[in-house]
């Protein structure tokens, strides 16, 4: 994998995927920062990992399963009390369908 130089277009594409607004002079700042971080992680590509299984859990444990039973009670009011805007049990957002 050749070293990556992060361009303005790549910053904007990743910002879109990340649901972030990055504009103006910030685009170049992020491009420089991301290029440096990717250069730091670049040395990974010199390591021979053929035949090595990826490790996603540090104790190699699989996730615990529990019985398929309802254990939680309805706490909608409690959790909506901290929401920015609600109405009649619904979360309010700007109109999506015209």
């Amino acid at each position: 994998m050749p070293p990556i130089t992060v361009t303005q277009d790549l910053v904007l594409a990743v910002a879109e995927l990340s649901q972030l607004n990055i504009d103006g002079a910030d685009i170049d700042d992020y491009a420089v920062d991301m290029t440096k971080v990717l250069a730091l992680v670049e040395q990974m590509h010199g390591v021979d990992t053929s035949g090595i299984a990826p490790m996603s859990n540090p104790t190699d444990a699989s996730q615990q399963l529990r019985a398929d039973e309802v254990t939680e009670t309805d706490q909608r009011e409690r959790f909506q009390a901290i929401a920015p805007e609600t109405d009649g049990g619904f979360y309010l957002v700007p109109r999506v369908v015209e």
Binding site: M1, L20, P58, T59
Partner: protein, 487 residues
């Protein structure tokens, strides 16, 4: 006799039993110190004066009745990434500045059941991303040892509050060194338990396969007091380890005679400060004089730990932080024009620069065309790093080295150099990738600043680590040194 605020939990429990003072008096003493001294340190985001005094009074009543939980009336603080019901839990971020946690984290419940008094919530790098506590929405924390120095991060407020005598112990979280590095910088004891030993339920997620909460305390014995309450299986955390919790306080008093301690050659590279090298080797000799058997060991993939971490952690961060959308809780931008504007502006205004940078790197590493070369590759390297440790633990019981390459650096010194900041975690990060327990304890000073010694153990051997640390603290007094606050 040490000052009230410098006493260990073990001493405080004896004094409370002997009625030398009440928990209300002790709690009031800490609260007064916080009010007087913390404006210059900034270690607390939220102080819970009235609830703490009420809780202390209740614990005094319980103690008088003679039936009380083990840590009744001991005043502690929680890192502000740990959910505390009815209390703001900000994670050091504008995003959660208005977030009142609707429930307690499991570890908070456990410590409450053990009788602690919660003084407040401590400052931290935003969403635990940082090594200097300069990435907080609530401003940087200053190191009590010297005001122009950082306390380390991300649990910088926890470490600084303890070093300044503003609590008896604290909780922290450690994803790449965030308990151990600030513990080293502030001259306290910090334990990162085995991944899954302490429940992550109610601990705001940064990188879920690395995050682990643990105790920060004055001594290994005090850390054992806290871990005893915090450790254990939790059915609400699907990665929690279902193994019995040993009696850590009983374990720490064992002898270290005959224990094999490996000195990791890769941790004594050219980047290490000379005073730290000397102090850590002197500490190793102390352990040898107490009967430990020293040898050299090698972890050849150490150099790949930081690259692998800075793919895995940002990738998991980008996924975990996708939940902050301005809809259900947390920051919402003013007058959103569309749903997309709501998401993007809430996130752009709510997150700080470093958090956005890690979300961007992580999103890139997980995106189509790059996933195999970055995320999968990093997870393969993670296995190589883990295998290094397994091989070494066939030869020795513990691995010894420095916690950090330098002592506390100056505020502002590394803020413009992200990669230099990342390299701070060079000796701590591999431990998280392998899910191992590790402890940092004070082992010297350089120009008046504390030096940290790191010990790494096998999975679930927290008791053994605490034993080695406790033995060292019986033979040294670095852990008893305090910064001079003139108060």
């Amino acid at each position: 006799m040490s000052e009230l605020h410098d006493k260990t939990i073990s001493q405080l429990l004896l004094d409370l039993d002997n009625k030398a003072f009440s928990s209300v008096e002790l709690t009031g003493h800490y609260l007064d110190r916080i009010e007087r001294l913390d404006p210059a340190i900034n270690s607390y985001i939220t102080v819970l004066r009235e609830p703490a005094l009420a809780r202390a009074a209740a614990m005094d009543v319980a103690r008088q009745k003679g039936i009380h939980p083990p840590l009744a009336g001991i005043p502690i603080a929680h890192k502000d990434i740990i959910c505390t019901q009815g209390v703001r839990t900000s994670a050091g971020s504008r995003m959660l500045d208005n977030f009142i946690a609707p429930y307690n984290a499991t570890l908070v419940e456990q410590l409450n059941d053990a009788g602690v008094v919660t003084l407040g919530k401590t400052n931290m790098d935003e969403f635990a991303m940082g090594s200097s506590n300069e990435n907080s929405y609530y401003g940087p924390v200053r190191n009590p040892w010297r005001a122009d120095r950082v306390p380390g991060g991300s649990s910088g407020g926890s470490a600084a509050s303890l070093a300044a005598g503003l609590c008896a112990a604290t909780t922290g979280t450690d994803t790449g060194g965030s308990i151990r590095q600030p513990a080293a910088f502030c001259g306290i004891t910090g334990l990162k338990p085995t991944y899954g030993r302490v429940s992550r339920w109610g601990v705001i997620a940064y990188a879920s396969s690395l995050d682990q909460a643990g105790p920060m305390a004055r001594t290994a014995e005090d850390a054992a007091h806290l871990l005893q309450a915090m450790a254990g299986f939790d059915h609400r955390d699907s990665t929690s380890i279902n193994q019995p919790v040993p009696d850590y306080l009983a374990q720490i008093n064992g002898s270290i005679k005959g224990l094999k301690i490996g000195i990791c050659t890769e941790y004594f590279d050219e980047g290490l400060d000379d005073d730290i090298r000397t102090a850590v080797m002197a500490a190793a000799k102390t352990l040898e004089s107490m009967g430990a058997i020293l040898s050299e060991v090698s972890l050849p993939n150490t150099q790949h730990a930081i690259p692998a971490y800075y793919v895995i952690a940002p990738a998991e961060c980008s996924s975990n932080l996708a939940r902050y959308d301005g809809v259900r809780f947390g920051y919402r931008c003013a007058d959103p024009e569309s749903i997309e504007d709501l998401y993007k502006r809430s996130r752009s205004e709510g997150f700080g620069r470093e958090v956005k940078s890690r979300i961007m790197v992580g999103t890139f590493a997980l995106s189509a065309g790059y996933y195999e070369a970055y995320y999968r590759k990093a997870q393969q390297i993670r296995r190589l790093i883990s295998a290094d440790f397994s091989q070494v633990f066939d030869q020795v019981d513990y691995i010894l080295g420095p916690t950090t390459p330098s002592t506390a650096f100056k505020l502002g010194e590394k803020v413009d150099d992200q990669v230099a900041m990342y390299l701070q975690d060079i000796y701590t990060i591999a431990v998280n990738l392998a899910g191992l327990p590790a402890i940092s304890i004070p082992a010297g000073q350089s120009q008046g600043l504390p030096i940290g010694l790191q010990l790494i153990g096998r999975h679930l051997d927290e008791g053994g680590l605490l034993k080695v640390a406790h033995n060292f603290q019986q033979a040294s007094d670095w852990h008893a040194q305090r910064p001079n606050d003139g108060q």
